[in-house]
Subunit: 153 residues, 3 copies
């Protein structure tokens, strides 16, 4: 990595952030693969052209399990994408290393439990609690970035 690069060597919070981020992106890719597998297993396709290839037009239909996967994926987009932005900027605010790692770890574990609770149909309020838990470090980072930015206007 060049000296003009992201400087992971001199910014250890960044390495922790990037690891958590990329693992969560891969987790989202896994949800997408699971959605495709559920579509094939339940024979429930969103597009006529897919249904035609897999048994006929009657398989162009919705299915509760497919919808569940789509909701899990959508919730990831509502929460993990903002984290990719907030966490990246937060790393350059010079945060305490252990506090930064705590932020990333709480988010990472919260989102992991969220996906397991969603796809595993765990009883409420497991999924909601995991959602709220994961949002806490995001709100904390958002406030810190807003504070720092307001002071540099």
């Amino acid at each position: 990595m060049s000296a003009s690069g992201l400087a992971m060597e001199t910014n250890p919070a960044l390495a922790a952030f990037l690891l958590c981020s990329v693992l969560l992106v891969i987790k989202m890719y896994v949800v997408a693969v699971i959605t495709g597998q559920v579509r094939l297993r339940k024979k429930a396709f969103a597009n006529p052209e897919d249904a035609l290839r897999h048994g006929g037009l009657q398989n162009c239909r919705s299915d509760p399990d497919v919808d569940r996967c789509l909701r899990a994926h959508r919730n990831d987009m509502e929460t993990i994408y903002p984290f990719l932005f907030l966490g990246f900027v937060y790393c350059f605010l010079g945060p305490n290393l252990w506090l930064a790692r705590l932020h990333f770890l709480v988010f990472f574990l919260g989102r992991l439990v969220h996906t397991v609770a969603y796809l595993g149909k765990l009883p409420a309020p497991t999924r909601s609690l995991a959602y709220v838990l994961a949002q806490l470090p995001c709100v904390s980072m958002a406030l810190q970035v807003a504070w720092a930015a307001a002071h540099h206007l």
Copy 2:
């Protein structure tokens, strides 16, 4: 912030961008909270496990007001997420400070009006106009980034 950091001190456009961005991310979080409140008030849940915890399986159903919140949130994902990327890169193209602030402010206000118009069910075309207004600085920044990138290929 370290010298190898984002250098908000020497890049005043970045501070304006980060403030607008983070406030819009928080705005998205608020839409998510409102969605949850509407679900509880209208007793309309997407998952059986949530409905079971709140009155019974008959509450696992869709609701026009919940769907409206979901559409507002989705439109945010379609527009605010690209802004987080475009605005960040644009700040490093050395833009005129006042022009950059104008870009960010127009987007910020446009998206704020969009959410108010959507959730408040304001008559058309308020929401559509706010959408188009907010897209203008995004298209402008996209073209400028594409132009700069093409010249460095």
Copy 3:
């Protein structure tokens, strides 16, 4: 661009990444415009206030072609947004320039074909193959970023 900037001059992979990224963001904007045009042509609006402005409340309804546009746009959000993050970080890992360009080009072409196949209703499995093709460079970059980050923890 300042010396503390993104340094496209000294990071040629970044210029290729930014060009592909911004063109794909513009492509997503085009899908949004097409969705609006299909809504007007098919007279199928998601909101009562829009339907009232365009012929009456009976036009507040779903339509297969509108739903298709929405699914294409959603799939873009599931794939292009992570690329914006992964590709950006990957550029700072000091990748081989030609290999980096290959990653970006495969993703760019894969997503272009995906949109054409989706909106053009091309027979399966064209769209699915384009999806898988475009995910390959993303998984490759994700693994490389995770590897580099794990080594800097």
